[in-house]
Amino acid sequence: MISGVRIAAAGLCLAAGALPALAKEPNIETSLELGMELRLFPNDPAFGLQRDRAVSPSFYLEPEISADWNGGDDRLTLVPFARVDRDDDSRTHVDLREANWLHIGDGYDLVIGADKVFWGVTESRHLVDIVNQSDGVEDVDLEDKLGQPMVQLAVPSDLGTFSLFVMPYFRERTFPDADARLSGGVRVDDDAQYDSDAEEFHPDLAVRWSQVIGDFDVGLSHFHGTSREPRLLALDPANPSNLTPYYDQIDQTGLDLQYTTDAWLWKLEAIGRGGHGDYFPAAVAGFEYTLFGVRGSDMDLGFLAEYQYDGRDEDSSAPGTLANNDTFIGTRLTFNDVDDTSLLAGAVVDNEDGSTLLSLEAERRIGDDWKVEAVARFFLNADSENGLKALERDDFVSLTLIRYF
């Protein structure tokens, strides 16, 4: 034992001696991302109250400040975010994406504060990913997330990594302003209602186990607490387009699984959820196959296909979903060039009524400090019963120029 301690101490001294002289502590790093965005809406809006502007400019700022010490085992991270949008007052907003202390201990990691956590493997829908609320004003794909206050403890072991999340405060989803594009012509009330008497202070809990077993990456999780998806209730008899978000208490068990073999990635996400009407299952399953070095070039061409199923009640007892019986097909082109040029095009088609969301995402770096991103989303063939109907005149192209400082 004593010799073990001595060896460890000697090892530490050696390690300290081996550290480069420039490692002054705390090690503070700052950076800033500044984005300028133009959203182009080629069609007139569908709803009278929506502003008819073909070009909507906005910009955002995302600074990042971090300080670490103990050789990186303790780290403070602060990532505020702010966007100013000329035509959508709700999209003009601020958030703390991250404000946390990370401590890497002996056999555990601890995070206290606002953080972002991602669970899952599929591309077209993130069913299992439930810790963070979506920042719904950023994009309709709901992939931008609000910082979630939490205490997160992760314990890696030979049997996999076990994580516990305690989330003492709930974040409400953000929605576009009623008179902005992509609002669907509805006004979502700022004053949410809750299933729990504790409202947004209900302590939500989650546990997760994840492990790599050969070619399989597997995760199992359970969440108990406030649903990140609200039901939108029309409680105002005078104006049925005024909606109140209602956040139920739910229990959701999730499985995410990926099998990687040769150029194939086989993916499955499945959940079971209680608390939104009858207990229901939902799943996304599919694959990504990549042709590397197409025709002797450096380019990679990927093919993606996923099936989306959701068994929730289609009355008002559960939040609505577009993904109840839909198919996603897509293609990813990666140029592997100096500018990291890439392109992802895909369509999600409703298998019952043919309503289609067509998306195109492209990006490339310019020089060392700039990048351009283009996103286009088209709502095609929207059936009158489909949720896409409300957006069908809000097809848009978004161009963003980003500068890194």
Binding site: R75, V121, G293, N336, V338, Y404
Partner: protein
Amino acid sequence: MGKLQRILALAVLAISPVLQSAYAETPQEKGRAIAEETDRRDLGWGDSDVVMSMILRNAEGESSVRELRLRSLEVPERGVGDKSITVFDKPRDIEGTAFLSHTKILDPDDQWLYLPALKRVKRISSKNKSGPFVGSEFAYEDLVSQEVDRYDYTWLRDENCGEAAPTRECFVVERKPLYEHSGYTKQVSWVDKQDYQPRKTEFYDRKDALLKTLLQLDYKQYQGQYWRTHRMDMTNHQTGKSTTLTFEDYSFKVGLSEGDFEKNRLKRVR
């Protein structure tokens, strides 16, 4: 030469093919023995940390820079490859992106990519061995640990090491990848006879045409044993592009363990 000596010499000549087959190495054995010796001299390095920078140049002379850090772990078992994490610092749009690789000998490697903007760790296909690494002239397979059993070897000749070490004598060894999905039919390496470190390597594409030349320069020895190159110049003869990869001083035995190279650690790497 006297009569007796002449008879003796003839006798030696007559039996020399027998001697060769019974005792001398074949070119294959000699080539493999050189690779084994390079490997043996590097055993026990444990783990290391190094800061790297990459300058990518196109045929028009335009350049762009990558800065990255490489953290490596030696896995002593012969049948298992080493592990590494690469973290990108520049360009800024990919800052914090991290790449974890568990190298195998002949089976496909296990690879994961951490995307900091989404906080997402993705398992990726490792079939892409011959693809360019971050747009450079280095392929993934050029940068992973050089395990002996990944190749078949043939010693070709001995000669001067050439431009990378003009005062040194080298073994010239041809090696053919045994793992699947390599972009090369063969590589020819100039291995320094004194320290058994490679000084130059030529890469031949799938049509067996010369594709790239790598020069390994500025070797330094650590801990009295382990040689590391501090500059690698890769030139693509078919496109005119080149990449220079430079290394700052290495830190060895910094206390890394298997646990630091697990998938779930990737999102904690800074």
